[in-house]
């Protein structure tokens, strides 16, 4: 029975969907801005996995090219986001996402 199992592309898509929803759950639940950011990274990774799967199934390089762009944008996003978090946590080390208004002015 198990020997007959073949890995089909939809399994990758289902796995990516699971990772994406776990990431979205964490983003909604956690209050530490750093952990929220990691959850965003999880969601981005789920999407890149989907893109690579589609690139593989459709035998097209476009999906992989988009993953390169997602990587670059994720890197830029992390740099700016962490700078904001550093500025926020410097004002109050125990700050949560609710305290973003501290940066006002």
């Amino acid at each position: 029975m198990i020997a007959a199992l073949e890995v089909v592309p939809s399994w990758y898509l289902v796995l990516a969907a699971l990772i994406f929803s776990i990431g979205s759950f964490g983003l909604l639940v956690r209050r530490n801005p750093l952990v929220m950011f990691m959850c965003v990274e999880l969601m981005l990774n789920a999407v890149t996995l989907t893109f690579v799967t589609f690139a593989h199934v459709l035998t097209d390089t476009g999906g992989q090219s988009i993953v390169v762009f997602v990587l670059v944008v994720a890197a830029a996003e992390v740099v700016v986001g962490l700078a904001i978090i550093v500025a926020l946590l410097r004002k109050r080390p125990e700050a949560t996402a609710d305290d973003a208004a501290l940066l006002e002015g």
Partner: protein, 229 residues
Amino acid sequence: MSVELVVFVLAGAVCLGGALGVVLSTNPVHAALSLVATLFGVAVLFVAQEANFLAVVQVIVYAGAIVVLFLFVIMLLGVDQADDLRVEPLVGQRVAAGVVSLAILGLIFAALDSAGMTATGVSGTIDDRVADVNRLGESLFTTYLFAFEVTSVLLVIAVVGAVLLARRAKPGDEIVDPGQEERAEQVAERMADARAHVGAHEFWPHGDEGRRAAGGDGEDVDEHEEVRS
């Protein structure tokens, strides 16, 4: 049992375990390390789907740079104490979040199901004899050349923005309001008028000396405070 199946099951389990670790671990350092597990699992799945270059980039950029940046910020700011996950600051937040994320999952499954659980669309023409790095490079520098160039602008903006945001403002570096001095003078004038009207003694019991003492260091500071309020 085929090798591909074993690889998929193991890497998928690592991915899901890491993802749950990110969400559920109380310590941000543990969350970052769980994120590394997920990133490695995704890299393995990339290799399983013949995206070798992207798998390497995934490990170098994500695990090597982004997570290290996360850990660096955690250590730099000393926020590595555990969060208390037992309290739920907003009543019903977790239930609502669970419902929303399950709804997202359901939506994705519905979309997958409507497409017959597979990719639909125009198939490309990948020449299997060409390495994926070559294909990717050719695609980036021909089809997506403009987007690639714009990406460099994005990186420059990100670097400048990060430096600007994370810089510790020096005392003299405050954003200066161009008309501030003028308005400070006007306010001082009006204050002087008001004082003359009311009588200096009622306003500041000890005259100008008392005003200095009450205002802190000196007149300048006092005026600034008035302008702000």
